[in-house]
């Protein structure tokens, strides 16, 4: 394109900028690690080079894969994730050093990070187009339920700190709910994009708010009740709050009706009151939040406000620039490396450090929403908005809880807190956002979908494939003509994708598209009968 206007509007890959930011993130993470050693032992940690090499290898690996597979992906997501992860590692190491027994949790976390980055790379390589996920809307819905139910299976599930959300295989434990979070986002996105018109336009109108018909709304209510119900049984209300927030946010994005937020908020208020009345541990949390600074709550065991108040004291001790890494006493707070890692950072890095962390989350969220805006399909818009909203809501719930804005709930701080499942899930979210932002910013002539055909390929479209496609087109058309009755809606909406997934023609298409062919209009044989080959 030599046209200057188009050139100005044409997205640049920004891959070198990403590399620069990644290097900066690694330098920051490594110096945090070194400062922890300096602060605690007054000497450089001996394994600093190994640590740095490991982190660099992981970051460069994902950078290269992004360059190779998702050239136009957002340039700041990977550096931010690396920085947050590196800072979390340093703080986990610091809390570990302050403990009586040394557990080497930082190395464990680094192994989890390796697994997370590995999964992210797998997602980037395997998932060539996020729209492919839409075919698995209901599969993801059921898988999400399955993952949520796993900890309830006797023998497999484990109860840690009163919440039955872990599964344990041998010495390893994992929270399947974290993966379920992503699957639910896929399910909601796929479902809402197909039914959003019905949700907005059909159904009775009560008090000026249009309610959807039960038939349209049924599956999603079932999914929601099931997930929330399961979580109430597993006694993890933080995650349940997260799912509910995700659900309301995606409904709002899908329908752009403020009434959904109002309905969601009132549902939530009712649920909160009910939970307070029904569950003693919720009541404890509320008491500890409202009267945190009374002697009665402070000394109560278990379930008092000791942890919360110690966290507040720690942050107050940190002040503007903190005590310096390795020089505070974050170990005063129970779970300083997981639930209260934010308070630990507040103590040792002060407000100047906390604001960097919060800005990083804000930037991830901004990039996610921006991707959602730019994407050219409703499914991607919903999925990107939903995934970035999960991260934002999680940060709000954790940080709000630690700073005593809202009652404390057991959620993990994304990327920072110790905990493998959450870290792995967040890396997968980053990979999905990378893939979607790549699709959103990629110019059309460079589209490589791998799964879904959008450009025609006259050379490879054989006569038989063309005929098959034509018949598929015809069936589409008849489907479309019969689409007036709402009951046919589901099948007609899903059929094009599912039908083509099984035909051999689609197989051929898949292989064709795995090689990118930037083709200018002038190279194209203009008289080619293109009608049949187009999808």
């Amino acid at each position: 394109m030599s046209d200057s206007v188009s050139q100005a509007a044409r997205p640049r890959p920004y891959r070198l900028a990403e590399l620069g930011l990644i290097i900066l993130a690694i330098v920051a993470s490594t110096s945090a690690y070194a400062l922890v050693g300096l602060g605690v032992d007054d000497a450089m940690p001996t394994d600093i080079y190994g640590y740095m090499a490991w982190l660099t290898a992981l970051a460069l690996l994902i950078h290269i894969v992004v360059w190779w597979k998702a050239k136009y992906a957002d340039p700041v997501l990977v550096p931010i994730a690396v920085l947050l992860n590196g800072l979390g590692l340093a703080m986990i190491h610091r809390v570990d050093l302050g403990r009586v027994e040394f557990l080497d949790s930082a190395t464990q976390q680094l192994i989890w990070m390796t697994l997370g980055v590995g999964l992210a790379i797998t997602v980037l390589i395997v998932l060539r187009d996020h729209r492919w996920l839409r075919r698995y809307t209901y599969v993801s819905g059921f898988l999400a339920l399955f993952f949520l139910l796993l900890p309830l299976i006797p023998g497999l599930g484990r109860t840690i700190n009163g919440a039955r959300i872990w599964i344990g295989i041998g010495p390893l434990s994992f929270q399947p709910g974290e993966i379920a979070k992503i699957l639910l986002a896929i399910f909601f996105a796929g479902y809402l994009v197909a039914y959003r018109d019905q949700l907005v336009l059909a159904g009775p109108k009560i008090l000026g708010i249009r309610f959807p018909r039960l038939r349209d709304f049924g599956p999603i209510v079932i999914a929601w009740i099931a997930s929330v119900g399961v979580l109430v049984f597993e006694r993890d209300l933080g995650t349940s709050l997260l799912f509910f927030g995700l659900f309301v946010a995606m409904l709002y994005v899908a329908t752009s009706k403020v009434s959904w937020i109002i309905i969601g908020m009132s549902f939530f208020a009712a649920g909160a009151v009910l939970a307070t009345l029904l569950f003693s541990h919720v009541q404890q949390r509320i008491d500890g939040w409202l009267n945190a600074l009374t002697a009665e709550e402070y000394n109560k065991t278990p379930g008092g406000s000791y942890q919360l108040v110690q966290g507040l004291f720690g942050m107050a001790n940190g002040g503007l620039v903190g005590t310096g890494l390795g020089e505070g006493r974050p170990n005063m707070v129970p779970y300083a490396e997981s639930d209260f890692i934010y308070a630990s950072f507040g103590e040792e890095l002060g407000m100047a450090g906390l604001f960097v962390i919060l800005l990083c989350y804000l930037l991830i969220f901004e990039r996610g929403i921006r991707t959602a805006q730019k994407l050219r399909d409703g499914f991607g818009t919903l999925l990107a908005a939903g995934l970035s909203f999960t991260i934002a809501l999680q940060v709000f719930v954790v940080v709000g809880g630690v700073t005593r804005l809202i009652p404390l709930t057991g959620l993990t701080t994304p990327f920072l807190a110790q905990g493998g499942s959450s870290l792995v899930a967040n890396w997968v979210i980053i990979a999905l956002l990378l893939r979607m932002s790549d699709n959103a910013r990629r110019p059309v002539d460079e589209f490589h979908t791998g799964v879904l055909k959008i450009t025609e390929d006259p050379d490879s479209t054989t006569a038989s494939a063309r005929r098959r496609k034509k018949s598929a087109d015809d069936s589409d058309r008849t489907d479309a003509e019969h689409r007036n009755s709402p009951s046919d809606r589901t099948s007609s909406d899903e059929s094009p994708t599912t039908v083509h997934a099984t035909t051999p023609a689609d197989e051929a298409v898949t292989t064709n598209l795995s090689t990118r062919r930037p083709s200018g209009p002038d190279q194209r044989p203009t008289d080619e009968p293109t009608q049949g080959g187009d999808r």
Binding site: S2, S4, V5, Q7, A8, A9, R10, R12, A17, L21, L24, A25, A28, S31, L35, L38, A43, P75, V76, I80, L83, R131, R135, R196, D197, V321, G324, L349, G353, V356, L359, L363, E366, R370, Q373, K374, L375, R376, D377, G378, V444, D445, T449, K453, I454, T455, D473, D476, R477, D479, A480, E481, D493, P496, T497, P521, D522, T530, D534, R535
Partner: protein, 177 residues
């Protein structure tokens, strides 16, 4: 190591952290601060005419567009006086835009289209824009409810100019330079 050195390191660490944040903001400048300018060109314009810095971003954009109009004639005989991009102006996808650059652009309800129109009034593969004889041509792919150009339903492939309104279901698209 002395207290002083450690303190210096501590503050150097903050500098790195904030450098990172500002680095990210720098990469995303156009997105975060809303000033939509072309990457290199706009900077040159600004350097040449200092007054344009005070003008609003929208105005800036306009002047840039005006300057870009008599841009050097392209070397390729490809579509030139033709639209360079297409923008969704109404419907659920409003605000999305796409640069026309060689490859066909397809519209429809199925997820494999370039622009997916989730609308009961759109067919799975509703319409497409392809390059033919050096022009962008809009074709209706035998859709049920038809493709409308400036209000009238098209029956034959339509040569697109700049500022054409294309309506598919509830979605309206406009071709732009």
């Amino acid at each position: 190591m002395s207290e002083f050195t450690v303190t210096v390191f501590r503050f150097a660490f903050f500098v790195i952290l904030w450098l990172f944040v500002f680095g990210v903001a720098g990469v995303l400048r156009r997105d975060i601060f809303g000033a939509r300018r072309g990457p290199r060109k706009a900077k040159k314009n600004k350097a040449a005419r200092g007054s344009s810095r005070q003008s609003a971003p929208a105005q800036n954009q306009q002047t840039q567009n005006q300057q870009a109009q008599p841009a050097p004639v392209p070397s390729r005989p490809a579509p030139r006086a033709n639209p360079g991009s297409i923008r969704v102006t109404a419907g659920p996808m409003a605000g999305t835009s796409l640069i026309l650059s060689g490859a066909p652009v397809t519209f429809g309800r199925a997820p494999d289209n370039t622009i997916v129109i989730d609308d009961d009034f759109a067919s799975s593969h509703h319409a497409r824009i392809i390059a033919r004889n050096g022009a962008w041509v809009l074709e209706d792919l035998s859709s049920t409810n038809g493709t409308f150009v400036d209000g009238s339903r098209i029956t034959a492939p339509f040569d697109l100019g700049i500022g054409t309104q294309i309506t598919i279901g509830h979605t309206t698209l406009e071709t732009q330079s």
